[in-house]
């Protein structure tokens, strides 16, 4: 093994450079993703084949974007929250709330698909605002503040649906609503387009406007950013509200996908997947630096890993074992203490 293959052996760089951005942070997950794709290329040739049936594009690659859409959407919102130095544990529960409200509006109230989706997203954004209020105004630790909604949010969703699974009806409105989860535009699945669209829009807004700098500044040093005249409170409120919005969108996709609002199972453990995607992507949990592209790659990496395992006959029940090991490995590689121990063991 050549020394140039081991960036860890370089003299230690300054530990933390808050404003330098997380350039290169997503190199590890990108390598992982490419390695997985190469592995699939050699072991299952059908992996890269794309075909057009009924004007729709099909194939494993499209499938990864399609199934990974919820993960990507959540990871985009989570990235900004983590960049402010926080975390949002409630996104799974908020997904359930958004889906429940949309399904109720469609079914019991008889609203149109647009109104139903809008109501679901507004409720989710409001839930995000509540989180943001607790964190930014009451100044509760983010893990604790969002834990409240994580515990009670699913209860709220179950309460408003009367503790039942609301199946979508077979009318025109419901069919139109289902397009969010199962439809195709230009031959591409709508969830994938929504996820990529949200990612690109957020990327452009964060890069082209001053908002990205605000988020980074608040996450790096809130007191200093306040001294510089920045209202950290509003930035945090906005970040949590946006995360709620993303969770709401993910909830709509989920309901449209399975044609029912299942408040018990919708979005369970998705907050963990989203946090993992962000962390694996190279955004540091202490805030102050973030990479949306890294989170995007991280979410794709997780989904590709799952799809690969499924194609090898790993049961959905036991797939978490491998997923957790990969994630642990990536996190350990990012840990300076781990790399130090590794280096120390090699050349004492």
């Amino acid at each position: 093994m050549g020394t140039d293959a081991e960036p860890a052996t370089d003299p230690p760089a300054p530990r933390r450079r808050p404003f330098s951005g997380a350039k290169g942070g997503f190199i590890w997950p990108l390598c992982g993703l490419i390695a997985l794709l190469v592995f699939n290329y050699f072991t299952s040739p059908s992996f890269f084949s794309l075909e057009i049936r009924d004007g729709h594009l099909y194939g494993s690659l499209v499938d990864i974007f399609n199934r990974g859409s919820i993960g990507i959407v959540l990871a985009v919102g989570m990235t900004l929250v983590i960049a402010t130095g926080g975390v949002d544990l409630s996104v799974g529960s908020v997904m359930a709330i958004s889906g429940a409200i949309a399904a109720l509006m469609l079914g019991d109230v008889g609203a149109g698909p647009v109104v139903a989706g809008f109501c679901g997203i507004v409720a989710a954004t409001f839930a995000g605002l509540v989180n943001g209020f607790l964190v930014a105004v009451v100044r509760v630790q983010p893990i604790v503040a969002t834990l409240v909604l994580m515990v009670s949010g699913r209860g709220i969703a179950r309460f408003i649906t009367g503790e039942r699974v609301i199946a979508l009806r077979d009318d025109a409105d419901a069919t139109a609503f289902e397009a969010i989860g199962t439809g195709h535009v230009f031959g591409l699945p709508v969830p994938a387009l929504l996820a990529v669209g949200l990612f690109l829009a957020t990327l452009v807004i964060v890069r082209r406007t001053v908002l990205g700098v605000f988020v980074t500044a608040v996450g790096a040093n809130e007191r200093a950013s306040r001294a510089a005249g920045l209202q950290g409170r509003n930035v945090k409120l906005a970040a949590y509200a946006f995360c709620g919005f993303c969770a709401g969108l993910a909830g709509l996709i989920d309901v449209a996908n399975i044609r029912a609002a299942d408040t018990i199972n919708s979005g369970v453990f998705t907050e963990l997947d989203a946090i993992f995607a962000v962390v694996v992507g190279g955004t540091v949990l202490t805030g102050g630096r973030f990479t949306l592209l890294g989170s995007f790659v991280g979410a794709l990496l997780l989904q590709t890993l799952l799809t690969t395992m499924y194609s090898y006959g790993v049961a959905a029940d036991t797939a978490p074992i491998y997923k957790s090991l990969v994630i642990l490995m990536v996190c350990l590689l990012q840990s300076r203490e781990f790399r130090d121990a590794f280096r120390w063991g090699r050349s004492p």
Binding site: I143, S152, G155, F159, T318, I327, E337
Partner: protein
């Protein structure tokens, strides 16, 4: 006791007093509102039904006092339940051997997570999240369906009970819960390990400078919590006479909620083991009330979320007052 010490003492025990008052009010109110609520039967039921949650919450209390968190608890409970059931039913091992193996597995698992957290400085919630996925997956590796435990030993244990008066009995599960409560209370109050936990949770850097064994203590507390989670899984098999790989999903959240309602600060350094016992009882009472009043159970979890919020804000307020 001087006035400052008095104020400090008052401040530190205020959350515990609030927890006790809430439990009294809830239980007292329910006892007057519903016929048959204020009986030893309901109390025994409260302790038995929530025994596995209580065991998990006691271990979680120490982890949270040390400034950490363990999200793998529910998965470890689920793994233990199916592991024990499968060892007894499928492999014909004596229950005590199966229990010992499960307790060792849980302890080792916790120790590994503790090592990753203490040695390689991974955030506790991240490392234990990996543990959550891993343990749940392993549960499905053991068996992917529910396994019944049909063993004379379990039948015998089911008959064990200490009469509480009025015909109600304290079951073995409840006794394990209360026994562990005494152990954890003593550990937190009189042992060096307990004092180290508070010191590390209060300020890890200071604890390190004081020469306290930070790494060893942190590994030990996660190992102990792994032990408690496995014990909770065993208690669950006692209660259900079966094991299920899907059981106890998200129980860690209930355990954390019970700990926080018990007055323990999630930021570490401050915590009450007695409060956790009361927190578990409050949790159980709320669900018992929804059952008695024929209300949907989801209302119970909303109430718990509300209580959680109230306690967090209360702690914020109490924590800020003296600094001014």
């Amino acid at each position: 006791m001087g006035p400052i010490a008095m104020r400090l003492r008052l401040r530190s025990s205020a959350p515990l007093a609030a927890t006790a008052a809430i439990f009294m009010a809830l239980f007292g109110g329910a006892a007057t509102a519903f016929e048959g609520f204020g009986s030893t039967f309901v109390l025994a039921d409260l302790l038995t039904e929530n025994a596995f949650l209580g065991v998990a919450a006691l271990g979680m209390t120490l982890v949270i006092i040390s400034g950490g968190i363990d999200l793998s608890v529910g998965s470890v409970i689920g793994f233990t339940s199916i592991f024990v059931a499968s060892l007894i039913t499928d492999h014909g091992l004596p229950p005590l051997v199966a229990w010992a193996m499960a307790l060792v597995a849980g302890t080792v698992f916790g120790a590994v997570m503790g090592l990753v957290i203490a040695r390689f400085k991974l955030p506790p919630f991240l490392a234990t999240l990996c543990g959550l996925f891993f343990a749940r997956g392993m549960a499905f590796v053991v068996r992917n369906e529910s396994v019944r435990i049909d063993h004379p030993f379990y039948d015998t244990l089911g008959d064990v009970g200490v009469p509480l008066g009025g015909g109600a009995e304290l079951t073995l599960s409840a006794m394990i819960f209360l026994g562990l409560f005494l152990v954890v209370l003593l550990v937190s109050r009189v042992t060096r390990f307990g004092r180290n936990l508070y010191a590390i949770g209060g300020d890890e850097d200071s604890a390190l400078l004081m020469g306290l064994p930070v790494t060893r203590t942190k590994v030990a507390v996660y190992a102990f919590n792994g032990f408690c989670s496995a014990l909770a899984g065993i208690v669950l098999t006692l209660y259900t006479d079966s094991g299920n790989p899907t059981s106890a999903t998200a129980v860690e959240l209930d355990a954390i909620a019970a700990v926080v309602i018990g007055g323990t600060l999630l930021s570490g350094g401050v915590g009450f083991v007695t409060g956790t016992l009361l927190g578990v009882l409050i949790y159980g009472t709320i669900y018992q009330i929804t059952y008695f009043a024929n209300l949907p159970a989801s209302l119970g979890s909303i109430t718990i979320g509300g209580l959680l919020l109230a306690f967090i804000v209360l702690q914020k307020w109490l924590g800020r007052a003296p600094a001014d």
